[in-house]
């Protein structure tokens, strides 16, 4: 009986969590069905019912900006309303950068003379593709080690052997996903509502050490073999600056839960890739005839620079 109740409770908690994760904190309006990009310079809004023409045709009722810069409003050239008065197409003077989500504010929507309030909508490209582009972006195109030079001390410390490198990479990926999800939750539901954004660094550092400690305690009991394999790296994760960079980035960009998950996963896998590549090269360097002054760390830095140059080839790439 007890077990059944426990299972029900667990299921309820999981459903609530899943609901949170899928909805995020989007501020959608119930009268608006869909927003999407069209062509190179159009945004189409689909309403649930007919809107008034006088309201729809007035450009001062709309304001649109690209996500990171709320001060730069995009200039609307023409507005067209479909014959059934359910879809509005905004045409802009300049082409839109469709890789960035845009925020559209429609003030005082009126339908059949009734005011329906203001809607703040985000316009995004097809969602799965967008998530995938965040993942690949964090993993390869903006690899944290090779293009942002973060987490170098752990990177050079643990890339001497392939086995330790892979162990560190996997541990790191697990911890970063756990701590980034907690950081997202706290940021969205505690720090932002209470206007405590300025404390984010302190809170995120605490969260990182918390998740490392929790993984340490739980793994020690649940899977001692894995714990032994991770060894000292688990504690070393705290000293890695990628793990603090990811929560700050996702707080800055106001990512929702899935986007944050993808960013954290991409950062972790990117670090794993970087460590694996570096350790393969360093294992071979052991056999190479390196001049004595360059042996050890100096040649490793030179190799890392070469890798960074190679990764520069991905820069500016856009997916989808």
């Amino acid at each position: 009986m007890n077990i059944v109740i426990r299972k029900c409770l667990l299921a309820a908690v999981l459903t609530v969590l899943a609901a949170f994760l899928t909805t995020g904190c989007a501020t959608e309006h119930r009268f608006i069905k869909k927003t999407a990009f069209k062509d190179t310079n159009q945004i189409v809004i689909e309403f649930a019912g007919p809107v008034d023409e006088a309201w729809a045709k007035n450009p001062s009722h709309y304001s649109v900006y690209e996500k990171p810069d709320p001060d730069i409003k995009l200039k609307i050239q023409t507005i067209t309303l479909s014959p059934d008065r359910k879809t509005v197409a905004l045409t802009f003077a300049d082409p839109l950068n469709q890789n960035q989500p845009h925020v559209l504010t429609a003030t005082g929507i009126t339908s059949e003379g009734k005011s329906l309030g203001t809607a703040i909508l985000s316009v995004k490209k097809v969602y799965l593709g967008y998530l995938f582009s965040i993942l690949i972006g964090a993993m390869i195109i903006n690899n944290f080690v090779f293009t942002k030079y973060l987490g170098l001390c752990v990177f050079f410390g643990t890339s001497q052997k392939k086995s330790t490198a892979v162990g560190m990479g996997i541990t790191f990926t697990i911890v970063i996903v756990v701590s980034a999800m907690m950081a997202w939750f706290l940021y969205q539901f505690v720090l932002r509502p209470y206007r405590l954004n300025f404390l984010q660094i302190v809170v995120f550092i605490g969260l990182v050490s918390l998740s490392v400690q929790a993984v340490d305690t739980i793994l020690r009991k649940v899977n001692p073999m894995l714990f032994k394999a991770f060894g000292v790296y688990l504690v070393l994760v705290i000293a890695n600056c990628i793990i603090i960079a990811v929560p700050l980035i996702l707080a800055d960009n106001e990512y929702n839960a899935l986007e944050s998950l993808m960013l954290a996963l991409g950062a972790g896998l990117g670090f794993l890739i970087a460590l694996f590549l570096m350790s393969s090269v360093r294992e071979r360097l052991e056999l190479a005839r390196v001049p004595p002054t360059y042996r050890g760390l100096p040649i490793a830095f030179v190799v890392a620079g070469l890798f960074a140059l190679a990764f520069l080839g991905f820069s500016g790439m856009s997916i989808f």
């Binding site: 209470y194 206007r195 809170v203 305690t217 001692p224």
Partner: protein, 53 residues
């Protein structure tokens, strides 16, 4: 001082204190639940050894 700022600071203290307390209790419970029995003799032997390294 602006009373709004003082209110925000006190609210921040309270909120962060609650979070800290919550996670602290959570970690303590986890440590209790997932406690691993360590052999006390290991500690004793380590105590007797020189332990320079």
């Amino acid at each position: 001082m602006d009373p709004a700022l003082i209110k925000m600071a006190l609210g921040g203290l309270a909120v962060l204190g609650c979070i800290g307390l919550f996670f602290g209790i959570g970690l303590a419970l986890a440590a209790h639940k997932f406690a691993v029995k360590a052999n006390p003799k290991v500690e004793e032997v380590l105590e007797v050894l020189a332990g320079a390294q």
